[in-house]
Amino acid sequence: MRHVAVVDLGYGDAGKGTVVDWLCATRPVHTVVRFNGGAQAAHNVVLRDGRHHTFAQFGAGTFHPGVRTHLSRHVVVDPLALAAEADHLATVGVPDALDRLTVDGEALLATPYHRAANRAREIARGADRHGSCGLGVGEAVAYGLAHPDDAPRVVDCHSPALLRRRLTALRDRLTAELGPLDAPPVEDCLPAFTGFAGRVAIVERSWLAGALRAGTCVFEGAQGVLLDEWHGFHPYTTWSTTTFANADSLLAEAGLPDGATRIGVLRLVTTRHGAGPLVTEDPDLPLADPHNPTNPWQGRFRFGHFDAVAHRYALAAAGGVDGLALTHLDLTGPGLRICRRYDTTDRLTPGPPGDLDRQAALTARLLRSRPLYDDPPPDWAEAVCAELNTPVVLTSHGPTASDKTPHGPLLAPPALVRSA
């Protein structure tokens, strides 16, 4: 059985959520596996009847009955936001989302202390904000790296005394570094975290192998490869591996190396929310995004022409894909152009992970680069396919699953494959 892994080859917001929703609508899917990021993800899914949910921690297939969500150990889990998200799902007709959730006990917890520290740091950066979402995900990762044996993890929620110690140590360390944090007392946090442990299935690492044997799983990436902690444009990146790497390691542990079809999602308009390079940015593009309003942490949502240079770079950094999903084709207008090269270069090459000096130099170069444009192609899917040398296997012309069209056998719904 072939699993599917979905990764964004831009700066996020390309439409991973709607692609995952479509996959779950067109074939039996056992579990949607999250393998990076945390509660800062915002994957919007709209149903034909108008219902809408912004998926942050639940898999974007949750509207489909029976489809489970697994938060792997690579996810930073935020039980507080999770409760609110489950409540909203209940109001849009999904009362059992928490029943269909499993969480790896090794995953790091995001806590009010991480959040407060994240915001304190971002505010201190002033005009040099990184475009953080202010939810403490990066802060949790950083703390987990600095204090691997002492960082609060999901499984600790079963042990209130241990959790209390770890939260107290966390609070004290961050307070010592940053001053008083705008966060509630440890005692007040405990009921929420123990409530989470009492309600949600916390599982061991081996759970995923069972799910992968039980049925088709969809690996849902968060954010975008151009924000990757190693391959993104430093320092405007996220503390998360946004390529296929985590999904690959989970599959390999389960004895299924190369077990997934790799799908890269691209939006016809290259967008970015938050600071950092967006070479093709054009404030005159007559576009708006209903699900990405201006917010105090990231500012306004930025639009640019299709940046083939950046997307080719993302594709190489991700190690290639089996097919592309191209979204927002309904928004093609005469003003939208394609950028195949910059004035400084026509090709960006990924370096080895870990060389942040190189990435910072790359960022500086991008901030100096000017886009060179070609006229809009008559057939966008064909042009993107040619430019990235990769087949477009799914196109999306609107927000719902019924607005998607598969091309070729790779993602064709099983019924079509059989009749073909």
Binding site: Q40, A84, H88, F196, G198
Partner: protein
């Protein structure tokens, strides 16, 4: 990429998980308790609503509901709805720094726990008080409950900075379906609240005292035994005038209370409040509109000076 649109409030999350386990929130009562929880005991108690650095202009709000048998399922529905009240008030910014107290009213002539009053809280800790309320199964059959004792307590055993510093009344909502007794009896006051009175206090005097400091409303909800009973409504209209309100749908209780406060604070007029409800996708607009039609009339708000809600005293603005 995302902006963290789901609430990360710890108190809120604890409550959401508790509710999602299906465990009754009346855990104290359902575990068999038949005496007042110490934190809700009105005896020798004073309840305070104070300003603080974090909440510099507190608005005290008390919600006391009848927990006797005639109310049927009403207390349990209220228990699931009322935790949303604070969030609703804060989101809309209808009142500055709301501090909410919950309490319960029984019948002093036959109940074991005729009066329970929590503390004013400005976060979800007030939910704990809801969970500690003892529900009475009985009810006397005389169509009266001890509302007068509850109002007596509110009149003489509460202290608010809102009144003392700013001369502003707080909001008192009584949710019930029966009549009050004609006087607060000295014997019952002594036993329950601990005051030594030389004589009974007539109901009219209790109402005069409580309404001086509390903008007092009586909500008569659907689904209770005497709902729609003209005698009950007439009785409360006689005491409180247009502040006696019929509520068609208990699901709308929080919205009704919030809009009543918004109207009282002149933060909105009724049409604007109803538009807010519509915009949030609340299905309660019809009920609230009907319930508050009398209140909203002629109360065209001139000013809307309340700032948008911010839940922080420091520089870090929560999203």
């Amino acid at each position: 990429m995302g902006s963290g649109i789901w609430s990360t409030d710890v108190y809120d999350a604890a409550d959401r998980y508790r509710r999602s386990t299906g465990r009754s929130a009346f855990s104290y009562s359902d575990s068999g308790a038949r005496t007042v929880h110490p934190t809700l005991d009105p005896r020798d108690a004073t309840r305070e609503s104070r300003d603080s650095d974090e909440h510099p202009r507190s608005t005290p709000i008390a919600v006391l509901f009848d927990v006797t048998g005639s109310m049927r399922k009403v207390p349990r529905v209220l228990q699931t709805k009322l935790p949303q009240l604070l969030g609703l008030l804060q989101r809309q910014g209808y009142a500055s720094d709301p501090q909410i107290m919950f309490g319960a009213i029984g019948d002093a002539t036959c109940d074991r726990v005729p009066l329970q009053v929590g503390q004013f809280e400005s976060d979800n800790r007030m939910d704990d008080d809801l969970g500690r309320i003892v529900l009475e199964g009985g009810g006397g059959g005389q169509m009266s409950e001890s509302y007068e004792l509850a109002m007596y307590f509110m009149a003489r055993h509460t202290v608010t900075d809102s009144w003392e510093k700013r001369g502003r009344r707080g909001y008192l909502f009584i949710i019930g379906d029966e009549l009050a007794y004609p006087q607060a009896k000295a014997r019952e006051v002594a036993g329950l609240i601990g005051d030594d009175l030389t004589e009974d206090v007539p109901l009219r005097q209790v109402v005069d005292e409580v309404t001086r400091r509390w903008d007092t409303y009586y909500l008569l909800p659907a689904g209770s035994h005497y709902a729609g009973n003209a005698k009950v409504l007439d009785f409360w209209r006689d005491l409180l005038g247009q502040n006696a309100v019929v509520l068609d749908d208990l699901d709308a209780v929080c919205e009704t209370i919030a809009l009543t406060i918004g109207l009282g604070e002149q933060a909105i007029d009724l049409d604007e409040g109803l538009r807010h409800l519509d915009r949030t996708g609340s299905g309660t607009t019809g009920t609230v509109s009907k319930a508050l039609a009398r209140l909203g009339r002629g109360r065209r708000a001139e000013v809307s000076t309340l700032p948008a809600f911010r839940d922080t005293g420091g520089e870090v603005t929560r999203l």
